[in-house]
Symmetry: none
Subunit: 263 residues, 2 copies
Amino acid sequence: MPVNRSKTPSGMSKYTDEIVRTVDMMGTVSVQELSQILGVSDQTIRRVTRPLAERGVLSKVHGALVSTKSALDPPFLSRMSLNRAAKMAIANEVAAVIQDGDSVAIDTGSTSAFIAQALRQRRDLIIVTNSAYVASTLAMIPGNNVSMAGTQLRDHDGASFDRSAFQVVERAQVDYCVLSASMIHATKGFLVHEQCEVDMATAMMNSAARSIMAVDATKFQPQDRKPALRQPQLVEGDILVTDASPPNAFHGVLEGLEIRVAG
Amino acid sequence: MPVNRSKTPSGMSKYTDEIVRTVDMMGTVSVQELSQILGVSDQTIRRVTRPLAERGVLSKVHGALVSTKSALDPPFLSRMSLNRAAKMAIANEVAAVIQDGDSVAIDTGSTSAFIAQALRQRRDLIIVTNSAYVASTLAMIPGNNVSMAGTQLRDHDGASFDRSAFQVVERAQVDYCVLSASMIHATKGFLVHEQCEVDMATAMMNSAARSIMAVDATKFQPQDRKPALRQPQLVEGDILVTDASPPNAFHGVLEGLEIRVAG
DNA sequence: CTCAATATCAACAAAAATCGACATAAATGG
DNA sequence: CCATTTATGTCGATTTTTGTTGATATTGAG
């Protein structure tokens, strides 16, 4: 009778190691190819790789194995693809507010990435940002003057929140700052997840004559991961750009703001 | 009844990875061209790329696919598209030298942009660079640790050569530095146009255990704009990666280097 | 504006890949 | 040595993907 159903220490076969190494090395390998390399049948490859795929060591697609290290879809880009149309509309609206020659501080976040793209149609901008993505997007436009704030980049979104980042932002003096938020609460206002984001937003607002808050309309509903930290208070004359009219319940926290609905 | 157990992670096919990499590297690729590269029908390319376009991983126009990554139309792109096949081959060769977990300093330049793309398949890298493009390309890979050296970005290539850039590079201690050159002279060696590039190369070499010089074979011929400044001398054991065997006339300046020919 | 050239799309048949089951070979443990 | 477990290869049914064809849409030129 079968006593020990559970596989060897970690479900390993003598091929496991070489398979994983080969897949990681090549990024993508067809099952056929792999079976020839190891001199075994394709069926064996499937049998060995199935548990690996379940454990997430590698990933299976029809006809081939793909390294999970392939990072085709880092979290940042998957967030980019969420609500794409709305974010693009908002980005264009923000780009309409900002004029050629203006100076702008831009925070990190997926909406800001779209705004950076939209701002490529503007010329002679002076940009300060702590997002490497925004910086590299706008730096290569002839005539722009881009400052990248910070040195150490966060891995999931390529943004920096180190001391030098704040120094650069605080030294700046800009016409606008472009901010974002993870959620909008009917009484608490604009919320984000991390303290460093609040700090950066505060620094940018202090350096800017006017603030632009860019949030898509889905942020008016409660999010799954509840953000707990408040963004600094916007003031009279600041701008809110979104893609649908805010529900009445939010009129309180939006008091005094210039509201622009994109679309 | 067939249950839906085939949980294809995210609509991936065995071609997705290579398609995305190719599109990102080349900026723009026609569907025809891609189908020839992969040896499949154009229809297959369309089928695979449609969901990718919907997710925003790349973007479709009539007849071609365009990278959404760092869309660049300024001079940078024209240099990017020069010799792209050779540069891609060189980039892959460099990525083969560098291992997961290594620390690398990367300079600016079009070849370095390709190398950054190729290095996306590596994991847990520690990167120091003065190019915003390289930084943002590699920063978002989970596990990587990227430092952006410098604040003020040059407009034509998004690179920084200010004081803080040198401070960051000089503080670093890396396994490899990846350098490039505008021309190779048979007796003077590796040449570039600007003093700041020499300074940066020097700083990177001093911080690195081993240097990798990546130049395509066309650089062995005299260029139209003659670069006048010498890169610092490479030393015994440093690596030259190129795409064709250097002519005999250059043996003198390449003495002692490990020469790797990609392709 | 029309026209030709080319690109895209939908649908179907052919090809390839997968999975399950069983037989055989290798390894294991007394 | 044999009994038993484990791993591997082979075969057929099923599912998925791919190439082809013909219709439709888009582009650029005249």
